[in-house]
Symmetry: C2
Subunit: 455 residues, 2 copies
């Protein structure tokens, strides 16, 4: 059902997109709009815009379209009259769940539960998933400290006080609501003017590439970051704001596709446990299969990777998996009106079926090899322009010498039928859907190498 190639009719944004963007400016801030889309005509790996341009989509709505546009299996879910009720009667899931919800969780999310995490709390987006994961860690930490789940009167009356913290990493992105934003450090403009918490921020390793030529430096860099992290945990305990949880992305995505070794994450997890802190792996952008495993943290090969794993984007719904011990003790502590949306769980169950039936994780691994191989070749050919090609599966990135050149390349690629995204200061990130194949890699590489040659 996919298209076979890009087809361009105008520059992007074209005249119709420009007109609609202008209209949107009358209603709300329109300064982030790239162009307007014709989602009805979009298919598979190709996004069609309102000016009739058809582009190979290697960005997929900020990494959130799992199996391409208008996938027939998903259209079938929507057109099935048995499902109509799920789309029109959005329940307050925490108090009045639909009959099928336990089954949908069992057949859906629980089939991809990370190792050791038997429980899952459904939420609606990446931000509420992380906000509530943080709350679960705060509650767990204090109950552990109290030795009982019954709060004293003093606890209840002093609940306005800042007593606990979450440790995050420089360059991290965990969302933009105020709890999440306190742990987000990718760009200052995201945080400007918004009150925040005095929580510790540890350095994230800055690896040198190619990795095999910098084994010793990178190991030292990671050791330094681990040491500083442990120091911060101790320091904040002494400050009277103990670290209830450590939150980290397996690959820092918005911050510039920053990777670290499996050994780093495993050591970090041990440090967290040693100091009684929960370990929260934020897989909102990395989860769902793009790294070739369903969860990026599976690449660590750890027996006991995490206490909490949060997700959203490609999983269409939001939520977090958690260890039994992290269950909250009382009703309404982790709660909101909707607690997710069962119609998204219907669609997710189908996405997971397609991933299995079409063996998409293996496909992603194959496609990713072709993509990374192509990036290696290009950076060898254009060492002054490109560097630090890196990735897992199709979750790849490459750095460009200057931000202005990076931004220009992204726009030129778009005018030539390929949608790319930037991240960090200098990186181009690749975030195709799981149905992106080797021939799509070659389509991209052809366009990109022409642009580089002309540069």
């Amino acid at each position: 059902y996919d298209y076979d190639r890009p087809l361009m009719k105008t520059q992007v944004p074209g005249p119709r997109s420009k007109e609609l963007t202008k209209q949107m400016g009358q209603i709300q801030n329109n300064t982030a709009i790239n162009f307007f889309c014709n989602y009805e005509e979009s298919r598979g790996n190709f996004l069609v815009d309102v000016d009739g341009n058809r582009m190979l989509d290697v960005y997929t709505q900020i990494a959130s379209i799992p199996i391409g546009y208008n996938h027939p299996a998903l259209l079938k879910v929507v057109s099935d009259p048995n499902n109509a009720s799920a789309f029109v009667n959005r329940p307050a899931l925490g108090i009045l769940p639909p009959e099928s919800f336990v089954d949908k969780l069992t057949e859906g999310l629980l089939t991809v539960a990370p190792k050791g995490l038997n429980r899952v709390q459904n939420m609606a987006c990446g931000s509420c998933s992380n906000e509530n994961a943080y709350k679960a860690m705060f509650i767990w930490y204090r109950n552990k400290e109290r030795g009982t789940s019954i709060p004293s009167d003093a606890d209840l009356s002093s609940c306005m006080i800042n007593q606990l913290s979450i440790l995050s990493f420089s360059g991290a992105f965990h969302g933009r609501t105020m709890g999440c934003l306190a742990t987000t450090h990718s760009k200052p403009i995201h945080k400007l003017d918004v009150p925040s918490f005095d929580w510790p921020i540890a350095p994230f390793p800055r690896l040198q590439y190619p990795l095999d030529e910098h084994v010793r430096e990178n190991a030292q860099e990671e050791a330094r970051c681990l040491e500083e992290t442990e120091d911060l945990i101790v320091k904040w305990r002494h400050k009277g704001m103990p670290v209830a949880g450590v939150v980290i992305e397996p690959i820092q995505a918005e911050g510039g596709d920053n990777h670290a070794s499996a050994a780093f994450f495993i050591s970090l997890r041990k440090i967290a446990s040693k100091h009684g802190c929960a370990f929260h792996v934020d897989e909102v952008q990395t989860g769902g299969g793009a790294t070739g495993r369903f969860w990026a943290h599976e690449h660590w090969g750890a027996e006991d990777p995490a206490d909490i794993v949060s997700f959203s984007k490609k999983l269409l719904t939001g939520g977090f998996f958690y260890r039994d011990e992290m269950e909250t003790d009382k009703p309404y502590r982790i709660f909101n009106t909707w607690m997710g949306d069962p119609s998204k769980n219907l669609l997710l169950a189908e996405v997971l079926n397609v991933i299995r039936q079409e063996n998409l994780l293996a496909e992603v691994t194959r496609t990713g090899k072709a993509l990374l191989g192509g990036l290696y070749e290009l950076q060898a050919k254009y060492p002054n322009l490109l560097s630090r090609a890196r990735g897992q599966g199709t979750f790849c990135a490459i750095d460009v010498c200057k931000a202005s050149v990076r931004d220009k390349l992204i726009l030129q690629a778009r005018d030539n039928g390929v949608i790319l995204g930037g991240c960090g200061d200098l990186s181009i990130r690749f975030r195709p859907a799981l149905i992106f194949k080797e021939h799509h890699v070659h389509m991209f590489l052809n366009v990109f190498s022409d642009l580089l040659a002309a540069h």
Copy 2:
């Protein structure tokens, strides 16, 4: 298409609900679950559970079902093949909106824009609506102070510091993510263990009923609250954490259906303006027509009611309306991956059509009179049990002498086919859909007066 009366087969929760609740306990916290529902069989004002019980729903998923279950107009939206794409291709609305989105906003949300608020930002739930409304107020406040929208380097590097605050009221509920939670004060257990901000909390008036017998006391009480609010604004400015915005519900819903006079809100808005604070009216629970006006704040009759009005629940999507001057200056300051969900805007447009075609605001006013009249009669008959009947439209409440009696009455009503909700310490709240008619009021009153007589 509605059922004509309740039909009970078991106590609630029945055996099937109990079994499913037990199964849910293996997956996540199940302590807030009331019972499991058969949404396919539910219709109009009646919620059907998995044991075949059919109940008159006067709570509607925490006030979030606008026009009843399985409304034919909404089922038609879902079954229309032209809409399928909106349900399966969730876009990153802030960067790649669908062609129809400007029209959907114009035909939908903008037709109900509050007075003076020409702009609307779509969001996904009550929490992200309020979190982002707060951020918009912080950004507006600082830009105003700077006199320019260009932040200095010092601004950018100091953005971790707590510089601004939001003033909220005792008893308020604005959500449970960490920014929202800092302004929520309905129950200590909601806030326990979660870090918060040192933001000012003003007293909300505690009115005495019946209102016409306590005119002087109530006016004094409101004057006292206004005075304290102004004092707090001044005090926090001196503390170096000026109040960027004042947030208030037109009726404090979770906190116990606390009302105040139109004069109170109008004076409060003036105090906010006088001190350069934005005035944010949170209509997440009150908005959408249940008070007999589309927005509860319309009852104030104010020329210039607010700078920001946030909404969700009955509006199916989330978001906030705002004044032109509050537009953010730059891209990505008010942003997240999804920025709402266009499929919810499709459904909302249809809800608004039904509200107009069936003249539902006038109907709500009529039904509300019958409901409040019935509550007045009951409290006159049972003065030791009931007091403080109050409401606007069908957005009504009544107090019960003791929390334990209130809780028992709610459970007994449910076993007799009527779903009610509690709020505050002693109140029963009424939150029917907009299609709740006078004969539904009588169904409820019959069940309720039997219970009271038997007490």
